[in-house]
């Protein structure tokens, strides 16, 4: 039943990552984005980008915990979905906040830390998305693995990007940071981890 499990996992990824997109399309079609649609789009896409990025990082610990190797076979799919949401998030900001002005983007990058953090996260993930094919994996060989470790700083930058922009209520970004810390700690070599 290995094949069956993989199909189920793939389906779960498509539901988890594509479902919110369908829901968003339904909201847009019905004009149900609320009084500030742009803000809604930015928050909604940012939330899902961060959630899916964390979900991708959860796969390695999940494989270890479940002992099932097929878990890792949906990692690329989930990671790419996370990147799709990040691109949606970035495109919303570029379109409605900056109207695609390079000058405004440059100013934001220099003067606003949270923009710089988010942009850096996107930039780190861009080569990962581009080299996610089997061809690139083969061509880069061992360097592919090192390159794809960029996902860790990218996730950290993403979570900090959220923390940096909230006005007073930091509880939600702290939840994301906490989850990320747990997921990163789960990767430490066993001897470095203190037994609890």
């Amino acid at each position: 039943m290995r094949g069956g499990a993989l199909v189920a996992l793939r389906l779960a990824v498509w539901l988890l990552a594509g479902g919110p997109l369908l829901w968003l399309a339904w909201l847009v079609a019905g004009g149900r984005l609320g009084p500030n649609p742009v803000e809604f789009l930015e928050h909604y896409s940012g939330d899902w980008a961060l959630r899916l990025l964390l979900a991708t990082l959860a796969l390695t610990p999940l494989r270890r915990w479940s002992g099932r190797a097929e878990v890792l076979r949906v990692r690329r799919l989930l990671g790419l979905w996370a990147f799709v949401w990040i691109c949606l998030h970035f495109a919303t900001y570029l379109t409605f906040d900056l109207e695609w002005s390079a000058a405004l983007l440059a100013e934001d990058l220099v003067e606003r830390t949270y923009i710089a953090l988010g942009f850096a996260a996107w930039l780190l993930l861009l080569p990962l998305a581009l080299t996610s094919t089997r061809g690139w994996q083969r061509r880069l060989g061992r360097r592919w693995r090192s390159l794809h470790r960029l996902v860790y700083p990218a996730a950290l930058l993403g979570a900090l990007h959220f923390l940096w922009l909230v006005k007073a209520d930091v509880r939600e970004p702290l939840v994301y940071l906490g989850l990320l810390a747990v997921l990163l700690a789960a990767r430490l070599p066993r001897r470095a981890r203190r037994r609890v």
């Binding site: 609320g34 009084p35 500030n36 649609p37 742009v38 803000e39 409605f96 906040d97 109207e99 100013e107 934001d108 003067e111 606003r112 830390t113 949270y114 940096w164 922009l165 006005k167 007073a168 209520d169 509880r171």
Partner: protein
């Protein structure tokens, strides 16, 4: 002897739906739907069924340069009122727990005639003013407020020569505001103005909007409306006003002094440390527009002659 032969279709005059009701059937059905939804979602029930009472409004002044008034639905469902949740949509769902009657406002401090005023006394001689309202978060609305000039109200208490500032305080009652228990801000919410700012003819106290009593989430029953300053200066649900000699501590300034100043004048040239104030998004519009100096109320500039507005942000 009257012999009454019932017709084949025995309907009486009283069985007929009155024309007014019949013609109003869409609204009646909408009402049923609303009631159904209201039954399903208890919070919505209170929000939807209770339509605020109308207010008698005298003078009306359009002071937003002819810009379109934002719709009531938007203004009453997109609120920053942290006592009722930090999400913009939360206060409209949760502020029904605020009890706006009985309500009194205590006025004290550096004045010859301190006292307590009942909100009912403040509901006569009202005027309407259409003002722009610009939030520090770079969104804005245009609202027809109903109320009276702040100066007229303050003068009743005969401030003394020592009254250099006016401090305002929002109600703080964890029972009516259960979310304040999480302690996001240092309650009660406090704000303040310099006395000459408070006495400026544009400074306004609102008891209503769109011709009706203020919804709770918009700061019922009494809120400040200072159109040339960022929205957080326009403190909601006021219970106390104090004339002071020293500049009062205000909530956001205490919380993050680098980000929120005491003056908080709308100023496109002075950015918030984390975001730009040069442009803003008018709710209902997709694209941003330029933010105007003093939110488009240049008549207040005289209050700040000689002041470095980059330093006194």
């Amino acid at each position: 002897m009257l012999i009454r032969v019932p017709p084949l279709h025995p309907l009486r005059e009283s069985d007929v739906t009155p024309e007014a009701v019949y013609r109003d059937r869409r609204r009646f059905l909408a009402g049923l739907g609303l009631a159904g939804a209201a039954l399903a979602v208890p919070g919505l029930a209170r929000a939807a069924v209770r339509q605020p009472a109308e207010l008698a409004v005298g003078n009306r002044s359009e002071l937003a340069g002819g810009e379109a008034v934002t719709d009531y639905e938007t203004v009453s469902t997109y609120n920053n009122y942290y006592e009722f949740g930090t999400g913009k949509g939360e206060p409209a769902r949760t502020a029904h727990t605020l009890r706006t009657r009985p309500w009194t406002v205590r006025v004290e401090g550096e004045c010859a005639a301190p006292g307590t005023v009942d909100i009912e006394e403040l509901l006569t001689g009202l005027e309407e003013r259409i003002y722009r309202h610009r939030c520090v978060e770079a969104w804005s609305i245009v609202v027809p407020w109903v109320g009276f000039p702040l100066s007229r109200f303050l003068q009743r208490f005969r401030p003394t020569g020592n009254a250099r500032y006016v401090a305002f305080e929002t109600l703080y009652d964890p029972e009516q505001m259960p979310l304040t228990r999480s302690g996001v801000l240092d309650w009660p919410y406090r704000e303040g103005l310099r006395i000459d700012e408070a006495m400026h003819p544009l400074a306004f106290l609102s008891v209503g909007m769109y011709g009706r009593v203020l919804p709770n989430q918009n700061g019922a029953p009494l809120r400040l409306t200072i159109p040339w300053k960022y929205g957080f200066k326009s403190i909601k649900s006021i219970v106390a006003i104090r004339f002071t000699e020293r500049q009062p501590a205000t909530t956001w300034q205490t919380m993050a002094p680098r980000e929120y100043g005491f003056y908080a004048n709308v100023n496109p040239e002075v950015d918030h440390p984390r975001w730009s104030q040069r442009r803003e998004r008018r709710l209902g519009e997709l694209w941003k527009r330029d933010t105007l100096m003093f939110n488009g109320y240049p008549e207040v500039a005289a209050l700040y002659t000689g002041m470095d507005l980059k330093r006194y942000y």
